[in-house]
Amino acid sequence: MSAPADIVVDGRGLEPPEPMELVLAALEHLQPGQRVRFLIHRQPYPLYDLLRRHRYRYETTTLASGEFEIVISGP
């Protein structure tokens, strides 16, 4: 059985903390094995704090456009 498709959250160009609100809403609906792919125009340091606090795993990639993609998976 394959894992469910990633939930994509595009927070680019939105005013803080809307992007973080969208990510947290997506995390609440995360199925086992599913991941959130989060696109954002700047490093979301406060989000990292929350993710660490609640023991989520995440990996950040800088895109060629200078924007960031963060892949988050459950604790």
Binding site: L14, P44, D49
Partner: protein, 437 residues
């Protein structure tokens, strides 16, 4: 590595900045009451006792209160250095600052030396603790980014302002002989430019791109601006002290141009924002920067002749543009971002996955901000009109200032109450971050 953005992991408890933010608006109400009590005469000259009292209700009671509260919040987040014992430090600044501002304003107004001496001790304690705590944090900063350099210059500006203020209190409280007018001009110059403009710039480098979604400030501007302003202020002070009036006016003109360039660049960046729908905090930023630009223009124009520079109406208009326009506007606008954001973030950290946290717009609806904004705009315009026609406009100006101050206090208190209600609702379960501590 110090991030280019903000990290809230090291943030102090919400109560640390909040006590300053919830006190400050009520000093606007006090300022309004003073204008009402005193009548149109308060707009005759910046040197009259009630006007000096009014100035300090605004600069210490509102501006310094918020600026120091915000610094205690920001330093750990932006610079990555923790202020020691944050709750105790905040109390040791907040209480004497509040009482000292009341005592200083009363002392300036009624001219009683013992009240002055009390104010000097209280404010000396408040700023002594603030400068020590903030300086220790800033000089320990592992990386001297543009923001850190700017904040260091701003802190040096505060040190100069406080030093000159304490020296002036020697005249009022102890009867020392000193060149009061010249020292008071330096005190105002360092306070408004060296401390306020530079602190706003250091904060703007972070929050304008982040909250208004604009391109970043040009790095060369960020690197040069604070050092240029500080250098010009030192030159201006030395030239004034040495009696070289023409050269001092040249330095003052340089300060006006530098300040205008900060206002101009920030207005340009705001015009480039990615999101086209404006919000109320954008109005505050724009009006604040336009006031700064107008103040710089007026100051530059006044440098052309000593008669202009000392005309009471021009001095008053400059003070109103810088204090009620630039400083109050940008501080008011920023508090509307900072207070709901911190409440939301601290709640999110405590409650995530257990209770649904209301979003920022639910904690503080845009409509509440917009209504207070109109009162603020009216207050600024009426204050400027009162410089020209005091007997006509001093009462409406005072009423508008009182309304905008009380409204701001009410709006921020609502956020504080919502925070307390929700975080109490969550108390039974332990905070995961404190597990094992």
């Amino acid at each position: 590595m110090i991030p280019a953005g903000l990290s809230l992991e090291q943030a102090p408890p919400f109560g640390v900045p909040l006590r300053f933010f919830l006190t400050a608006p009520w000093f606007l109400v006090l300022a309004a009451l003073l204008i009402l009590w005193q009548g149109p005469g308060i707009f005759a000259s910046r040197w009259s006792p009630a006007t000096l009292a009014l100035t300090h209700l605004l600069t210490l009671g509102f501006m310094a209160q918020v600026m120091i509260g915000a610094l205690l919040q920001m330093l750990p987040v932006v610079v990555g250095v923790v202020v020691p014992r944050p709750r105790l430090t905040a109390a040791l600044i907040h209480i004497p600052l509040t009482l000292g501002t009341l005592a200083l304003s009363a002392g300036l107004w009624v001219g009683l030396p013992p009240v002055f001496r009390l104010a000097t001790w209280l404010l000396g304690l408040a700023f002594g603790v603030a400068l020590t705590a903030i300086h220790i944090a800033l000089w320990r900063a592992p990386v001297a980014s543009g923001t850190v350099v700017t904040l260091r210059c701003a802190l040096t500006g505060l040190l100069a302002t406080v030093g000159l203020g304490l020296w002036l209190s020697g005249f009022f409280g102890w009867g020392w002989r000193l060149p009061v007018l010249a020292v008071a001009n330096l005190h105002a110059g360092w306070g408004l430019l060296g401390w306020t403009v530079l602190l706003v710039a250091g904060v703007a480098y972070q929050v304008v791109p982040m909250f208004q979604i604009t391109p970043p400030y040009p790095p060369r501007f960020v690197g040069a601006f604070a050092l240029l302003v500080s250098g010009l202020l030192v030159a201006w002070s030395l030239l004034l002290a040495g009696g070289w009036e023409t050269a001092a006016r040249l330095a003052a003109s340089g300060l006006a141009v530098a300040t205008a360039s900060f206002a101009g660049i920030t207005l340009y960046l705001l015009a480039q924002r990615r999101r086209k729908i404006g919000d109320a905090s954008l109005n505050y930023w724009r009006l604040s920067l336009i006031s700064l630009l107008a103040a710089a223009g007026l100051w530059l124009w006044a440098q052309a002749s000593p008669a202009r520079a000392q005309a009471p109406q021009i001095e008053l208009a400059l003070g109103i543009l810088m204090i009620a326009g630039f400083a109050l506007g940008v501080i008011n606008g920023m508090m509307y971002k900072i207070v709901p954001f911190l409440a939301w973030f601290h709640l999110q950290a405590q409650l995530f996955g257990r209770i649904k946290v209301p979003n920022m717009k639910q904690l503080l609806p845009d409509a509440a901000i917009r209504r207070q904004w109109w009162a603020y705009l009216a207050a600024l315009l009426l204050l400027l009109a009162a410089v020209l026609y005091p007997s006509l406009f001093s009462v409406p100006a005072a009423l508008a200032l009182g309304v905008t101050g009380a409204w701001l206090g009410f709006n921020l208190t609502q956020v504080g109450l919502a925070y307390r209600r929700l975080s109490r609702a969550a108390e039974p379960a332990p905070d995961p971050s404190s597990a094992g501590v």
